[in-house]
Symmetry: C2
Subunit: 195 residues, 2 copies
């Protein structure tokens, strides 16, 4: 039974991710999630709580999957930014999930606060060790690195940025990725590596 | 009568901005906009068209007001970024409007395409004249400068980034602004001004 319930939970969370990415929290319908997951609607409440709590579960699962694919690495912040860029390529639902969170549920969960503090602490230690330029506060560095990694995807729905309306060619994708990596290098390289 | 209709249009657009910022396009209610503007609902269709077209009008008006307050200046991109930061301070409805657009109406209007092309053309000319580092493509520069200018506001609803949950002090605001300006300087200064 434990295996069945774990499979049902995973199906519900997958279906909820699609539903939230498409419609946001207010627009999401629990019936549609249950139907897409081929599960009883009641199980959503049993496993996850109300719709807002379900959203928190979906977001936490996406963040944990992201952290596993793209470990935070203060010794190579340009590489970290490039890896986030790769992780987001072809995953527009993640960008949408973050945008809905910002609009509809901006407060951080305790898990998100803990993950944030771990990153700024690691950045402060790397600055102290001379691995990262100390000109910026750790919170500024983290905010800028994440903004640069995501910048192209936040705008990617905008044909002004892709005049022919087609998806990026591999060449174009590689060029934007290289630009993100170089931008983060310029912001974070210790003075000895400037230039 | 012309003056009256112009005043009514302005009231409708103000009310629509608040409604869209709060609820997005799908969630916005034309009745509430008419009521808040103390105008007849029918006038919205007469003046602006359907709800999506009304959103385009609201967005275009916000972009034009922004461009008037913060002129694009290739001769001082760090100052431009700082001015955007100032313009967004205390205007969370603008950040929300951009996020809703990204989620619900990502296609650029002809006006937005024209404004975008004018900026990338100006950046290319400034690179050619040696005013801006030529390492990045104009579209990368524009995307990064806008992302850095807005980075703190996109995250500002997140208490993980303001542990005490209070609004920024003037000192904290000034420190983040200075970081944004310095970040843009590092990305765009021509090689002779690095360091």
């Amino acid at each position: 039974m434990a295996r069945d319930s774990s499979a049902t939970k995973a199906r519900l969370l997958d279906a909820a991710l699609s539903e939230f990415a498409a419609h946001g929290i207010a627009g999401a319908r629990v019936d549609r999630i249950a139907e897409a997951a081929e599960a009883n609607k009641r199980l959503i409440y049993v496993y996850f709580g109300n719709k807002e709590q379900l959203f928190d579960h979906v977001m936490q699962r996406a963040l944990e999957a992201g952290a596993e694919s793209v470990p935070f690495d203060t010794a190579d912040l340009p590489g970290y930014a490039g890896a986030i860029f790769d992780h987001l390529t072809g995953r527009p639902e993640l960008i949408r999930l973050v945008a809905w969170k910002q609009l509809e549920r901006p407060a951080a969960t305790p898990e998100q606060r803990t993950a944030y503090a771990a990153k700024t602490d690691a950045l402060a230690a790397a600055q102290h060790a001379g691995q990262i330029d100390a000109a910026f506060e750790p919170s500024d560095i983290l905010t800028f690195v994440l903004a640069l990694s995501q910048a192209w995807f936040a705008a990617a729905g905008d044909p002004a940025l892709a005049p022919d309306g087609s998806p990026w060619s591999e060449q174009r994708r590689a060029a934007h990725r290289a630009a993100v990596v170089e931008a983060v290098r310029r912001l974070t390289a210790p003075p000895s590596q400037h230039g």
